[in-house]
């Protein structure tokens, strides 16, 4: 009788333990979901708030075609979005080839020696340097030491340096994910290292590299602090010379040395005004910025997803 009671109470104890464990599991899963909901609703709330506030200006075509103005309802983002495009062109032209080349070197060429270690630790560290410090670098080096002014070129340069680690790291990851078999196949056919890299490794790594470049550039689009530091917060009510013109030689690079403003800086200058009407402009600019960066991120995620599916 005693043993039977013992068995029953054991079984009861086990059952209550299992129940407690189950409850714990449900609690954790519920908390996890709750945090996710908070994160997602933050994203949605941010977007909706900006969208609803900025809607009057977003519907107004003049908002996209006007220069900034003292009157909030006439102010537009023309010089800002043109500036963003021009700065991004410079940034992409510098950071993408440089980042890919450095990534390829570290992944394919570098021997294991102290120089490689130094570069690797350095890239890891640069990825963690606050963006405003890059701004100080640009201010001290480009603006004062080299005597450049606050131009599209300087902005492109500083943003390039800022996103360089992102592109290097993603290039390395993309190359690392290529099966060794491809490389051996090319080498086995008599290819030298550059032929292997250029004709076989880089094409196979392309989706990963493109993803990294897009993520890096989307970060650069939203970056504000380093550009403020170089003194780019100025009133720009004109456009740089168009890069393409109808006259010979059709292409010019005057725009590279032109003063500029960009979307996040325009938004910042509106946010810092006390008048509520300017906050509407800021919200509208924020929507444009968010749509831009979220779209770029979505493209990057989509490319990665597609590549994973076909593997």
């Amino acid at each position: 009788m005693a043993t039977l009671n013992q068995t029953i109470s054991d079984a009861q104890a086990h059952a209550s333990l299992v129940r407690r464990n189950k409850n714990q599991d449900i609690l954790i899963a519920g908390l996890g979901m709750l945090i996710l909901v908070i994160a997602i609703s933050t994203l949605l709330a941010m977007f909706l708030d900006l969208f609803i506030t900025g809607l009057p200006r977003l519907q107004d075509p003049d908002f996209y075609l006007n220069f900034p103005s003292r009157k909030a309802e006439e102010a537009g983002i023309l010089s800002a979005w043109v500036g963003t495009i021009l700065v991004m062109i410079v940034t992409a032209c510098i950071s993408v080839p440089l980042g890919i080349a450095a990534g390829v070197y570290l992944e394919e060429y570098a021997g294991s020696n102290w120089v490689t270690d130094l570069i690797e630790i350095n890239v890891t560290n640069l990825a963690g340097v606050p963006s405003i410090v890059y701004g100080l670098l640009a201010l001290g080096l480009f603006i004062y030491a080299f005597g450049m002014s606050e131009t599209v070129l300087v902005a492109g340069l500083v943003l390039s340096l800022l996103i360089l680690p992102v592109i290097i790291v993603s290039t390395r990851e993309a190359i690392r994910s290529i099966p060794e078999a491809y490389k051996e196949a090319a080498i086995g056919l008599g290819a030298d290292q550059w032929q292997t890299t250029y004709s076989y490794i880089l094409p196979a790594a392309r989706p990963g590299i493109i993803t990294g470049a897009i993520v890096g550039l989307s970060r650069a689009i939203g970056e504000t602090a380093p550009l403020i530091t170089i003194g780019a917060l100025t009133y720009i009510a004109f456009l740089p010379n168009a890069p393409v013109s109808g006259d010979f030689p059709f292409i010019n690079f005057d725009w590279v040395t032109s003063p500029f403003t960009v979307m996040p800086i325009q938004m910042f200058s509106w946010v810092s005004r006390p008048q509520a009407e300017f906050q509407i402009n800021a919200a509208a600019a924020g929507v444009v910025l968010m749509v831009l960066t979220l779209m770029m991120n979505a493209i990057a995620i989509y490319i990665r997803y597609k590549v994973r599916r076909t593997d």
Partner: protein, 312 residues
């Protein structure tokens, strides 16, 4: 049809010496160019250190290190300037502490959920959302803090000023949540499956396994995640510049507004400060402090991460 005799064909497919010479040259050239590209990053670091240190040296010609480290007022642009970094540090640390007190527990819980509980499908669809959250420009977060979170907080906390450290701290916490989550999750996922199976075989619940086995095994990686999040928080600029105000204020009270190191740099850059003036030099001095702080965090984080990578 195959018409060419074999030896002619063989001659046609043999690489010419000229081609081989050209190929070897290109190979060598490519190696040099790629190395140069990799070396650029080193020059960036050298550039940063050189600029920060050289301008700071000018600054410390005029301001004693003692004043910099002990004074509790920061008024470099006043007629009678004072250069104590404490007000900027207190602002930086307070906002960071609020951000971390949100990002760390939530990030850890989310990481446990993602690595131990969530079915692969949920995980696959959550990651992109977190990446999206990470991709939103910081200036948008700043606007969100100033225009939405602060008014919301003011309904609960009457008398909360428009510029305060609480609101940007909370928003920054949500902003770095994806970062702490993904770093902690990486660390937990690196824990070998056998360790978990051993715990399950002993009758441990999932929660117990996570707390008693996975987290202790992943502790160096998780610590690294927190430290790297800290580095992110102290270096963040736009959220605080917009929502925390720009007055240097020696306080740890989150209900007050205060400048951080980064907002001070923004504030000076927005004004018209001459090259060579003490105000100009001061942003490099505080920039150097910021750089050293983040460098320290990054190095510790790097070493801890490497440790868990080596362990498994």
């Amino acid at each position: 049809m195959l018409t060419t005799p074999d030896d002619q064909l063989r001659a046609a497919i043999t690489p010419t010496p000229n081609f081989l010479r050209k190929r070897a040259l290109i190979d060598k050239l490519a190696r040099c160019i790629l190395f140069a590209a990799a070396a650029v990053s080193v020059f960036v670091t050298i550039g940063i250190v050189y600029i920060l240190v050289s301008e700071s040296l000018f600054f410390f010609d005029n301001v004693s290190l003692k004043e910099f480290l002990t004074s509790t007022t920061w008024t470099p642009l006043f007629a009678v300037p004072s250069f104590g970094i404490w007000p900027l540090l207190s602002g930086t640390l307070t906002v960071s502490a609020i951000a971390l007190s949100i990002a760390i527990p939530l990030g850890l819980l989310l990481a446990i959920y993602m690595s131990e509980y969530a079915p692969p499908k949920v995980r696959e669809s959550v990651k992109p959302v977190l990446e999206m959250l990470e991709g939103v420009p910081t200036i948008v977060y700043g606007y969100f803090a100033l225009m939405m979170v602060t008014p919301l907080l003011q309904t609960f906390i009457p008398g909360l000023p428009g510029f305060n450290m609480l609101s940007p701290g909370i928003v920054m916490g949500i902003m770095i949540l994806p970062y702490t989550t993904s770093l902690s999750e990486d660390a937990m996922r690196a824990v070998p499956r056998e360790l978990r199976e051993g715990a399950y075989a002993l009758g441990y619940s999932r929660f117990y396994t996570a707390i008693k086995v996975v987290i202790p095994a992943a502790i160096s990686g998780i610590t690294a995640a927190f430290i790297l999040a800290m580095s992110r928080a102290v270096g963040e600029t736009m959220v605080v510049a917009i929502a925390a105000g720009q007055m240097a204020n020696f306080t740890f009270n989150p209900m007050e507004g205060a400048a951080t190191i980064t907002t001070f740099i923004v504030q000076v850059s927005l004004g018209d400060v001459r090259h060579g003036s003490i105000g100009y030099q001061s942003i490099f001095a505080v920039g150097l402090v910021l750089f050293l702080m983040t460098l320290m965090f990054n190095v510790i984080g790097f070493l801890l991460r490497r440790r868990y990578r080596l362990a498994y």
